[in-house]
């Protein structure tokens, strides 16, 4: 695929996402004209871009959408839920067309074409009489011919054009044009401004207290003409003010040029530069002017005014080249962004992270050698080096961090569509959208999240009637939360629905042979049974969920990211699914500990404190931590290291998933930058180990899965208690 095409498709998809977000906001009652404007601009950019890369099907179809949005913008039609739905469907269709284009298919197949026509017709039905029902999906060229009688067609400028020459006395009267223009900003955005100083007289005659300046301003605003004029009220004396509304006729611009004191050519250029006219539009006007001048030479009559020529000749403005407009708009709109953002191929970043990983290992090895050599200068040099490596590591990882908001925002659409489909009223609340996590994690978390959200809507939230009967508000509420918590990111999917039916789950689990009838389980454990394979309690299968292949897949996907998922549920109050994920998959700050000859790494974020293990009884696996019961595991026993315990043992207190536990080791070796190397498939079922790493000495150290160890410690203690309780 050509590079330009792939860039277009990528950008078009971003624009579509923007459109979708804007449309959803409008549906929820956002009347900010800027929102609608944003949606319109996105559609316009897609249309323009598709013209440039010669994707006729996208261009044609988007044109219909753009038309509808334009009518909305001009208040010719009102916002309605039906219209928004129709436009959203069109957005989906454009996405589908982009898919085709991505597969090197430049023309829509008949099915897609038919679907597109149907959508376009549906959309047109909202436009009322404004568009003839028989009109074919109007390509820009066809639309342009309708403008024939307009006398010099519309320009493509969607901004106001303000042309002002301030009066000589403004400064003397204590008014500064600067503050007038700044005040203008309260009404909208100055897209482009040109300062005209042609009126400055000779140096000797110039009165420094007079104002000689004028401005040509391309101004984007929803204020009406009166409001804009009002800005200049205080300086009206001796001030020459021309205001042209958006999409003014070309003739009006040519008129303006003719009326302004400055030279035509120069003004023309200024208008083009400020985006008010395209070069084509200007050339058109000037060509006619020159023809007029030539005529003058021949017959001696004065040349008619440019505007008159255009009107007299009923000159048709030829289709304005979309590419030029698009390019100009993109330049002015994106300029600021471009300077701050660069697109980088994800592979390059991954490669960088790999290299940084190797650098960390090599650095550790150099450090070790330096320390062995005992040369203090060398040690100093390597310690500076390792500090720099650490900074590089952090910055490199930071590059891959993205906000989770984008992923979350996709759910606005999902929730809206699903709510309509299943006839429930559902409100989606998003918090913590700015929480950052590794790009590779974000990519993979979408599917499990989608499943959980759909589940919450379908299974979790009760039908409206049931909700009302229970005294809950009719509209169900689904929350998506994200936040950082001790070295991991937590994503929650919360609903205020019926909660999990514990008894039903228990019965079902027994039926499926997941648990035995005599097994006693805590409420927590019962709730989490839904993550077992082959489990579903929905009585009826909808096309959303309930095929019994859901939650175990969710759990597997999350575990593949070194994460965990659990559910807290209270009947009739709601459920809370909590996903915990590591911040990054590549490099972490570790805490190195040793048992006999083996080294282990504990993720540093999880370490709370370290202390000496004092006179702990041999058979009890808990200790008294300042009045708190702290269960612990002995790595020596867990990994069956067959040697005598040393005289002194240490406890590393860790916190994982809101649970504290102790890990008993022989020696504490301190902080260590850990490059995570995944374990082979052979060790996949190993409990308590999440990966491995290479030490500076070349030895391998295992990374402890603290979450699992904490569970193990707590579980062992619980079981011991339960067993002793049963004996009593």
């Amino acid at each position: 695929m050509e590079e330009i095409l792939s860039v277009f498709i990528q950008e078009a998809r971003e624009q579509l996402t923007e459109m979708e977000a804007g449309l959803m906001r409008m549906e929820q009652g956002d009347h900010d004209p800027e929102t609608l404007n944003g949606v319109f601009r996105a559609a316009h950019t897609i249309k323009g871009g598709s013209g440039v890369v010669e994707l006729g099907m996208v261009e044609k179809f988007t044109h219909v959408v753009e038309n509808a949005l334009d009518k909305l913008r001009n208040n010719e039609i009102g916002v309605s839920s039906g219209l928004i739905s129709a436009i959203l469907n069109c957005v989906d269709h454009i996405n589908a067309l982009l898919d085709l284009a991505a597969n090197d298919q430049a023309e829509a197949d008949p099915d897609t074409q038919a679907k597109g026509d149907a959508l376009a017709n549906e959309l047109r039905s909202f436009l009322g009489g404004a568009v003839a029902p028989s009109a074919k999906p109007g390509a820009p060229a066809e639309a342009a011919t309708e403008l024939e009688t307009e006398g010099g067609g519309k320009t493509m400028n969607d901004c106001w054009h303000i042309s002002v020459r301030f009066g000589r006395d403004v400064l003397r009267n204590g008014m500064d044009p600067e503050s007038i223009l700044r005040y203008l900003l309260s009404l909208g955005e100055i897209v482009h401004i040109t300062t005209i100083s042609d009126a400055l007289p000779e140096a000797e005659e110039m009165d420094p207290e007079s104002c000689y300046l004028g401005f040509e301003i391309n101004f984007r605003s929803h204020a009406d003409k009166a409001a804009i004029e009002k800005v200049f009220d205080f300086v009206r004396d001796g001030c020459e003010l021309h205001i042209l509304p958006p999409y003014s006729k070309l003739a009006d611009y040519i008129d303006l040029i003719a009326h302004l004191p400055e030279e035509t050519m120069r003004l023309g250029e200024i208008l083009v530069k400020s985006g008010s006219l395209t070069q084509e539009e200007l050339d058109e006007g000037l060509a006619t002017q020159q023809a007029g001048a030539a005529a003058k030479r021949e017959d001696g009559t004065p040349p008619p005014q440019l505007g008159e020529i255009l009107i007299e000749q009923h000159m048709v403005q030829p289709e304005i080249v979309e590419a030029a407009v698009t390019k100009q708009k993109q330049i002015s709109e994106k300029k600021a962004d471009e300077a701050r953002l660069i697109r980088v191929h994800a592979d390059k970043l991954d490669h960088l992270i790999d290299l940084v990983g190797e650098l960390v290992i090599a650095g550790a090895s150099a450090n070790l050698l330096a320390q062995k050599s005992g040369q203090s200068t060398l040690v100093e040099a390597t310690s500076v080096l390792s500090r720099l490596v650490e900074s590089i590591r952090d910055s490199a990882l930071q590059l891959r961090m993205v906000q989770i908001g984008e992923t979350f925002n996709r759910f606005n659409r999902v929730v809206r569509d699903t709510a309509k489909e299943i006839g429930k009223e559902i409100e989606l609340v998003i918090t913590g959208a700015e929480t950052e996590l590794d790009k590779s994690v974000v990519e993979k978390i979408g599917d499990p999240l989608m499943h959980l959200v759909r589940n919450a809507m379908d299974h979790g939230l009760e039908p409206t009637a049931v909700r009302l009967a229970k005294g809950k508000p009719a509209a169900g509420r689904v929350e998506l939360n994200a936040f950082h918590d001790s070295g991991s990111i937590v994503i929650e999917v919360v609903d205020d629905g019926g909660g999990l039916p514990k008894e039903k789950i228990r019965v079902k689990a027994i039926e499926k042979g997941i648990i035995s009838e005599t097994q006693t389980l805590s409420d927590q454990e019962i709730a989490n049974l839904i993550f077992e394979a082959g489990f579903s309690t929905a009585e009826k299968v909808t096309n959303l969920s309930g095929r019994g292949v859901g939650m175990d897949v969710v759990r597997r996907n999350i575990q593949a990211l070194r994460g965990t998922v659990e559910v807290h549920s209270q009947e009739n109050v709601g459920s809370r699914f909590i996903i915990r994920l590591p911040l990054t998959l590549a490099i972490i700050d570790g805490f190195l500990v040793g048992v006999e000859q083996s080294s282990f790494v504990i993720p540093l974020e999880m370490v709370v404190e370290c202390m000496e293990l004092q006179n702990a009884s041999v058979d009890r696996n808990y200790l008294n931590l300042r009045g708190e019961v702290l269960p612990f595991v002995r790595l020596r026993e867990l990994f069956e290291v067959s040697s005598e315990r040393p005289g002194r043992e240490n406890v590393v207190v860790v916190k994982a998933g809101g649970r504290k536990a102790g890990i008993v080791v022989d020696v504490l070796q301190g902080e260590f930058q850990t490059v995570i190397k995944p374990l082979g498939g052979l060790f996949r079922h190993l409990r308590g180990i999440s990966g491995s790493t290479i030490l500076g000495s070349g030895d391998v150290a295992l990374i402890l899965d603290v979450q699992a160890l904490a569970n193990l410690a707590a579980g062992a203690e619980e079981h011991a208690l339960a067993a002793s309780g049963a004996r009593n």
Partner: protein, 109 residues
């Protein structure tokens, strides 16, 4: 206001506000500074306030230089000067390099 007046290139540092209140004085200072030199370097780094009158004077000086085939270089901009030049989009008119943060290109479309 300090002028060094010996070589073909003159250096003028303005260290007061370039506003309407000083416009009259500024005009004569600026124009006078052009007289003896071929190249004039203007240091505006200590101009804490500037308004439209000040900008207008700068534009006049620049044009005057061009007429006399002299060169006017603004070698340093204070934040206020830079901000207003940006707002009026006249950096291109002066054509001097603006020393600015990397993420803000001079607005010369």
């Amino acid at each position: 206001m300090n002028t060094t007046a010996n070589s073909p290139s003159g250096h003028l540092a303005i260290d007061q506000d370039m506003t309407i209140y000083h416009a009259e004085a500024l005009k004569s200072e600026l124009l006078a500074s052009l007289e003896p030199h071929q190249v004039i370097e203007l240091d505006l780094s200590r101009v804490s306030q500037i308004d439209t009158a000040g900008i207008q004077l700068l534009m006049l000086t620049k044009r005057e230089c061009q007429k006399q085939d002299k060169t006017l270089r603004i070698v340093a901009h204070s934040p206020a000067v830079h901000e207003l030049m940006d707002f009026f989009n006249i950096a291109g008119f002066f054509g001097d390099p603006l020393v600015i943060p990397a993420h803000m290109p001079p607005n010369a479309a």
